[in-house]
């Protein structure tokens, strides 16, 4: 069970406020899509949820525990909240399989041979069984991004964060990565996506949040946001991207 609640989260880089008071509740099994222009704070918000960026003010609660308390060890939290990046960030000196096994091996202390069957199963499930022993530079962008998702899933996280994971892909490779997300959605994974794939957000999201200048300007069901947006800026954004 994992609920993630953000209360008045604020984050600035130097004098430049990037997140300006965001409240957001992500319940178990939800799929929340963050949309908005680049620079609106989507990526930073995801990085704050994973504690890669410490927040300046406000609170982030995971099942009621304040995980954003300054000085708290972020490591156990990150093991429960997986993250996938736009530029894959696979470890180039390891095979796909080793990329996925490293974290579980170090954190559970189990040996590679014990962990391997479970990880192999994930590779098979996402159609990468024959790519497991390849190095990242021998894989296509879509394959690399699927390996990155497997790597995050290998920690058995309760929540997954996806930071524009299809933005760096060639258009014909986007579909295979979105299929993985559909699969996860069907299994009830709790997910937060920063995305430019409006069609995908519309099809699968429980909630869509439109971010503008570090605030959630408008949120609601996909129908509300895409069919009848209330705010002028939401309308302007949607008319540009749709």
């Amino acid at each position: 069970m994992a609920d993630l609640v953000l209360e008045n989260v604020q984050k600035a880089f130097g004098d430049n406020p990037v997140i300006r008071g965001i409240d957001l509740t992500i319940s178990q099994g939800d799929m929340v899509c963050l949309i908005g222009a680049s620079g609106s704070g989507k990526s930073t918000l995801l990085r704050c949820m994973n504690l890669l960026e410490p927040i300046d003010d406000g609170r982030i609660l995971l099942d009621g525990d304040d995980i954003s308390e300054p000085g708290k060890d972020p490591q156990p939290v990150r093991q429960r909240i997986g993250m996938v990046f736009q530029s894959y960030n696979l470890f180039p000196h390891m095979t796909a399989l080793d990329n996925a096994i490293l974290a579980p091996r170090r954190i559970t202390g189990k040996s590679k041979s014990v962990l391997r069957p479970e990880i192999e199963e994930m590779f098979a499930r996402f159609g990468l069984a024959d790519r497991m022993l390849h190095y990242p530079d021998q894989l296509s962008g879509g394959q690399q991004q699927r390996v990155a998702i497997i790597r995050a899933l290998a920690m058995r996280p309760e929540i997954m964060l996806f930071d524009e994971i299809t933005s760096a892909l060639d258009p014909e490779l986007v579909g295979e990565v979105l299929d993985v997300l559909r699969d996860l959605r069907a299994q009830g994974m709790t997910m937060v996506l920063a995305t430019h794939e409006m069609g995908f957000a519309r099809e699968l999201a429980d909630k869509v949040c439109f971010l503008d200048q570090g605030r959630i300007l408008e949120d609601g069901t996909p129908e509300q946001i895409f069919e009848s947006p209330q705010e002028e800026r939401t309308k302007a954004f949607l008319s540009r991207v749709l």
Partner: protein, 272 residues
């Protein structure tokens, strides 16, 4: 035969022209060297004292034997340098405040030993520490001379490794941390393996320099090739043994340098 394109014809002509010019100028320079140097007034003396075939033949086997000592000193210094250099590089990147003294020490260490001439460190350590009156074998110049080389070269290796660590993009560290790995694990399994691989060519150049600097130990006692050449020089009143020593060094260092360049080229191609 397929018809050549206009561009191919043009490029072939250009290539031919460039090769001709290169050949002519090379021949001219070598001819000048071969013809002009023997005309200098001291050439006969230089030839006798530096390029004496009889002396060369007589001393070369002995020099080669002495060179084994250079290689041996290199072989026991190299792993120590690699280990100490790595340790210092990591110490400079420690973020935990409890390790601050270690970090400070690492910074001072690299600053001091990169700032001193190698020969000075060899003198200070090689003469200074045995001066403490230590019992055998602890007064051996081999030990303290090697220590001097290890200290100096580890400082350089540490800097090279650190530049490698800094060249690994932060996204790699973030990816490792986002999986729940500790900072130490991120360094050990993700950043260091990539960083060390990236600086292999630069470190190879340092180790080639080390192989040459082993000869400096001759100043504090060990009879290695440079010292041996000096002994032959005195015995035979002839400088040819030095030329022999130079050839032996080159036989090892030129292939090693070429190999380092090859690795460096391969790497810059792979990254572009």
């Amino acid at each position: 035969m397929p018809q050549q394109t206009r561009r191919q014809i043009f490029e072939a002509r250009q290539r031919k022209r460039a090769n001709t010019i290169a050949a002519i100028s090379t021949i001219a320079v070598f001819a000048a060297i071969i013809l002009l140097i023997p005309l200098t007034p001291g050439w006969e003396n230089v030839k006798r004292s530096f390029f004496n075939g009889a002396v060369f033949a007589k001393t070369f086997p002995g020099l080669l034997e002495a060179f084994v000592m250079d290689v041996a000193i290199f072989l026991w210094c190299a792993p120590l340098i690699a280990a100490l250099g790595l340790a210092v590089a990591i110490a400079r990147d420690l973020r935990n405040p409890a390790f601050y003294p270690l970090r400070l020490f690492a910074i001072a260490y690299t600053d001091i030993f990169r700032g001193l001439p190698v020969i000075l460190v060899i003198y200070l350590i090689g003469f200074g520490i045995p001066g403490l009156g230590l019992p055998r074998p602890w007064n051996s110049p081999y030990i303290w001379g090697s220590l001097a080389l290890v200290l100096v070269y580890s400082a350089y290796v540490a800097e090279v490794i650190r530049s490698g660590i800094e060249s690994i993009h932060d996204s790699q560290r973030n990816a490792a941390l986002s999986l729940g790995l500790s900072g130490g694990d991120a360094m050990r399994f993700v950043i260091l393996p990539q960083a060390v691989r990236r600086v292999v060519p630069a470190n190879m150049n340092l180790f080639i320099a080390l192989q040459k600097d082993v000869a400096l130990l001759s100043f504090i006692g060990p009879v290695e090739i440079f010292r041996q050449a000096g002994v032959y020089k005195s015995l035979m009143a002839n400088f040819t043994p030095y030329v022999g020593a130079a050839l032996i060094f080159l036989a090892l260092t030129i292939p090693a340098t070429r190999y380092a360049d090859y690795l460096m080229n391969k790497q810059s191609k792979a990254r572009s």
